[in-house]
Each structure stands twice: as structure tokens, then as C-alpha cells.
Symmetry: D3
Subunit: 135 residues, 6 copies
Amino acid sequence: MKVCRRETFNAAHRLFIEDWNEAKNLEVFGKCSYPNYHGHNYTLEVWVDGDIDPNTGFVVDLKTLKHIIREEVIERFDHKNLNLDCPEFDGLNPTAENIAVVIWKLLRNRIDESFKLEVQLTETENNKVFYSGEE
Amino acid sequence: MKVCRRETFNAAHRLFIEDWNEAKNLEVFGKCSYPNYHGHNYTLEVWVDGDIDPNTGFVVDLKTLKHIIREEVIERFDHKNLNLDCPEFDGLNPTAENIAVVIWKLLRNRIDESFKLEVQLTETENNKVFYSGEE
Amino acid sequence: MKVCRRETFNAAHRLFIEDWNEAKNLEVFGKCSYPNYHGHNYTLEVWVDGDIDPNTGFVVDLKTLKHIIREEVIERFDHKNLNLDCPEFDGLNPTAENIAVVIWKLLRNRIDESFKLEVQLTETENNKVFYSGEE
Amino acid sequence: MKVCRRETFNAAHRLFIEDWNEAKNLEVFGKCSYPNYHGHNYTLEVWVDGDIDPNTGFVVDLKTLKHIIREEVIERFDHKNLNLDCPEFDGLNPTAENIAVVIWKLLRNRIDESFKLEVQLTETENNKVFYSGEE
Amino acid sequence: MKVCRRETFNAAHRLFIEDWNEAKNLEVFGKCSYPNYHGHNYTLEVWVDGDIDPNTGFVVDLKTLKHIIREEVIERFDHKNLNLDCPEFDGLNPTAENIAVVIWKLLRNRIDESFKLEVQLTETENNKVFYSGEE
Amino acid sequence: MKVCRRETFNAAHRLFIEDWNEAKNLEVFGKCSYPNYHGHNYTLEVWVDGDIDPNTGFVVDLKTLKHIIREEVIERFDHKNLNLDCPEFDGLNPTAENIAVVIWKLLRNRIDESFKLEVQLTETENNKVFYSGEE
């Protein structure tokens, strides 16, 4: 049984590798590398996989999961510039893939080990990523 | 190859453990335990996993699946109070998780064993559960 | 210029006229009149129509509008039984139309007269109503 | 008869009045005023109101409208920082309301006078604005 | 007070003026004029505007409206080829605009004159039309 | 880590087995077998599963994936009649399942073998299929 809580946050970012010059960044990342940033409404789905507690009928209390997501992810990244404001992305290009890994690690510390954890991050209506920690 | 049919139903429920007093129910389930019930538009996705029939090009006929879902789930739960009207939830807290298990079992009886069955139940735009019967 | 804030709430209700017997209620309201209630995820859009404040660039601050909606509507109706818990529907059938009028009146008291007010209430993905107070 | 074309763009912005100090900006605009910008996936609906051409059956060719929107709006604002990159917002706070007015004026120049023009701009799933040019 | 019922149908069509040759049709209508048809999932919203009946709390019974839409629109156009199967489009190019006018007229005959009638027809996620009969 | 690109196309089709007579086709496929075709807005999600490139932070560049999907799928099927225009469906009933397999094979040729490939094809808001190539 898997349960899912959805939350959203809005952030600015640009895709940019410091070791590359502007021309190479533009070639690889296109308009996503424009110097003054752009932004997205990110939609995050957090899936927790485990057994149903026979007392409550919950896998996990989604109210609790909501609070954990808000503390670990929303307060950290909402209305922020991922490149400038968030040390999690020092030296790490804030692609949807990398944001998902960072979020997964932040949440993994807060979710009991007995549960499997997966995150899906939607960046635009056409682009999304899914990370299950199984590398 | 997996195929999916989506159906919806509207029902009232409250989360409530009979063995607990009101205060403990309120502490654990919050406003979901309010005594006079609240309700949801439930969205159900039923996934059936199997091989494509080389004659029809179908895994299963989704019209047939639609009728099975309507007979087993929609007629049973639509516009009902899950706590009061539905014996499936006697002594079983009607959390999204438990509703999904009940639905999965009802449908499992009607879908040929050669197919794997999964259900996803969306309770609100932020909360959903997925059950594949693999416990 | 019109601006819109969207909020959601979950409630139970039944359609039922006290002066009618069960048979007539069932004939007119169908399964919406079932005695033990059913429920919906209601989606409310509140539109405020006025001039842009040349200082802020806002018609109204949507954060303020969000708080007004939560105080007047969400705290009042969320996770409630509209028939049993809400005196606003004493003697008033809680159809989507009547809920929208009640909400419009509650909000009208809190929005400056210089603004026009409209509400849209979505009851299911197929049914919604829109009220602009122009009777 | 009204026809609508939907397009999307992603941009960074902050809400900020230059004549105010940081504290007042923060008080009025909250986290929308954070100094390093945040961003949104903006969804734009452009409505054109007029008679159906009896030859083509179109009010306007939506392919043509698509190209006008892309030239005037998407190329100008997509993957940009509205505060830093876009002279349209020099001295103009890039609220959804003001962005909608700017877009309406850009498109008004390109749509024949015989048609009425309206724009709806969605900033988040909860916030949107609608501008019809009738001030 | 306005109320809305949403229904869907799937149909094939092509945009094509018989008096024009293939080259001109292709120039004006692009790939929408390809000779062997393409198709859409059409989403229809029917809005009825009137006073609330003080007995029922309904403007109109949406169940009744649903049946009228299904009789007049869905049975007529669902899983049909609008050009080949539907005499309503003899000599009338089945653009979204013209389909909306045809639907409006079919429904106007069935809705009491005391109510205003509006239809919105969505052809793709980016293209839609709205017709209120006010020409 | 899986990444997803969404694209859409509009096509006409009918479900029909040449070796069967009209009566049997109608019995099995219902209105989906009507002779003059109907159509859908198909939504395609293409999922690519692999490791994150430590240089770019991408699994695959979604701009590149977009171009591959457009070349292999959209240009081939958009605004086409799958039965009449597309040799991929000669002797193959264009069910959602079979369309998904055809698309998967077309894309599999263009995506590096080191990546797993999955496609989800949505035919209507209620019907969709998912194919991972694991038969």
C-alpha cells in the first residue's frame, strides 16, 4: 500500500555549470541558462510505501506527512532562488532531477526506515521526474 | 501492458475508532473525526495488467471493466455514508487505505486471475493511495 | 480587472425538503436525497472585480482574500455536515446554488463595497454554479 | 462568439516597490518580495470576441492567434526575469494584474479593432486574474 | 445564478470548404484539412442562467439537463464523423465555432425560454470557444 | 531516476477487425467500430529511466527527448487517420494498447539502450494504457 501527499512551491532557478563558459551553458541548457533566472510552480508528490496500521487504518498519517514536507521542503525552497538562496545547490545544477534527489534525502531522514519513499516532481505541465532512491 | 479505467463516486464518511473515546479520536484523526460526517468526491483508477489479446488488441475490454466497476463499487458506495450504509466498513475505519483494500477485493473476484490488479483512490487533490494487493 | 482566489473544502450534505415525504424527496432529488448523507470536495473560486491600486499593483491582496475566505467559509463548512452542523442551512436545501448564495453573502460583508463580488462553486467535475449577486 | 487560445511561459519575478524600504516591501508583499526572486509557470488564456466569418467558420484563425501570442508574449517573457530583463516593468510592479494589462496592450495592437479582447493569467493553481480592458 | 453541466464526446472531423480546391483548403486550414479526418475529445460545458426555484433550490435540475444534453448532443455526435455522419454540418464547416452554434440551437429548443443559455466547447487543451447566442 | 516528457496529438481511428463482419465488429467494439471513424486527443507520456549524468544533472535532455517524440510520433500520427494513413496499423487494430506498443518501438530505436523506456497513452479522461516493453 502506497500513500501520497501533494504539496507545491514556487521558486526561481537557472541551469548553469560554473566550470563552463556562457556559450557552452547556452548551448547545452538553452534558455534555461539565461543569466537572470526564470521560475516554476513545482508540484511535489511524496509517496510512502508500507503496511496499513491495523489500529488507525493509515500507512502514515497524511497530516503528519504534510507537516514534514512543509518543514523540510516548502519552508526551505518556496519563494526562493535555488541557485542563490539554497546551499543544497552549491555546486549542484538545480535540474528537476537534482532537486528531486535533494528532496528525497531531506525527507528520507524524517520518514521511518520501515517505509519505502518515492518523490515525483513536476516542473511544467510537460516535464516531470520520479525518484525512488534506488540507484 | 497495463490498462486503466477511471470512475468517480461521492460519499460521506468519518474516521473513528469505536473503542476510543471522542477525545482520542479527535486527537488522532482531527476534523476527519467530526461526528456528523463530511464527504469527498472519490476518484478511482483501476489498472489491469496482462497481455494484449492478439485478436482484439485489448488487454481487457474497458467497457466491460467499466461495467464491473460500476456494479461492484459505484452502485455500492456512490451517494452513501460509508460508516452507516456500508457493511464492508463494520469495524473497519473508512480511511482511503481501507477503502482501497475493500475495492481491490471486490474487483479481484471479478477480474480473471491471469491479470494483475491495482487500484488508485484519490480522496482530495492532495491525498491519494495506491494498492496492488502485494502484502 | 478581476482577480480570483481558489480554496477547497470537504463537506457532507443531502438534498431534502422537510415538508415533503421521503418518496417525493427521492423522486425529485434521486440519490442526492439518501438519508445518511453523502459528500463532496467543493472547490470555491472567489472573484473580486475592481481597479488596480496604482501603488501596489493589486486589485486586492490575494493573501488577505485567502484569509477572509478561510475565516468565513472554510472554517465554517470544512469537514462539516451542511444539514446538521450549519445553521445557515436551517430550512434551506443545501444545493450548490444555495451554498453559493450563502457564501456570497458571507463574503459580501467582508469585501469593500467598491468591489464587485462573484463566486463559482464546483461540486463535482461535471456540476458547478456561478453567482454574481445580481438577482 | 468568443474563441480562446491558451499558451504558457515560465518567468521569475519579485513584488517590490522601489520607493519603499525592504521592511515595508516585506510587510506588504510577504515572501513575494524576497530579494533573489522566485518564479511561476504562467498560463495565459487569450479570448477574442467577434462574429464568425461565414466563409471559414472561424472568428479568428487560432493558428494565427497562437503565432501572435508567441511573438508578442512568449518570446518576450518566457524564461526571463520580469524585473530585470523586461523594460515593460520598469517602475511597474510585476503583479499578475500588471502583467495581464501589459499583455493585453501588447496583443491589442495586433488584433483587429473589430474584435473585443480579454486575457486571463493564471499564476498559481489558486491565483488568477482576468482583464478585459474596460477601465 | 448560472449552473453548468459538463459532458464529453469523441468525434472525427476535417476542416474543408467544398468550393475550394485542396491547395486552398490546405493553405487556410493546414493539417486540419487533411483528407482522411482527425479527431478530438470534445468537452462541452452548458451554462443555464436563471432564478433559483425557492422550493427545490435548483435553477434547473442538473440531472434533467444531463439527459437533455445526452439526447440532443452526445447521442447525435459521439463516435461520429461530423462531416460524413451528421447532416447538421452539410455545407457547414465543422469548426469549433460552428459546432458550438449547432449545439446551442439544439439545446435552445429544449430549455425553457425564461433561461439564458451559453455553451463552451473545448476542442484541445489549448483551443476552446464560447457561444451565448447573442449575435 | 525516471524523467517524463508529455506530448499530445489528435487523430481519427476506428476499432475494426477486417476478418470479422460488421455485426461482429459492432458487437465487440461497440460505437468504437462505427464505419466513418471518430477521434481523440491523445496524450502521450514518455518515461526514460536511467542514471543522472553527473555533469549536466540530466538523465536525458528533455529538449532532445521532445524532438525525438515529435519526429517519431507527432509528425507521424498527428491529424492523421490511424487506419487509413498509417502503415504501422496495416492489419493491426489501433486500440490504445496497440498504439502504445507501436510508439514504444518507434522510440526504442532512438533512445540509448542503457535507458529503460516506458510510455503511457491517455485516450480519454477515463481510459489510458501503460507499456513498459516487458512482455
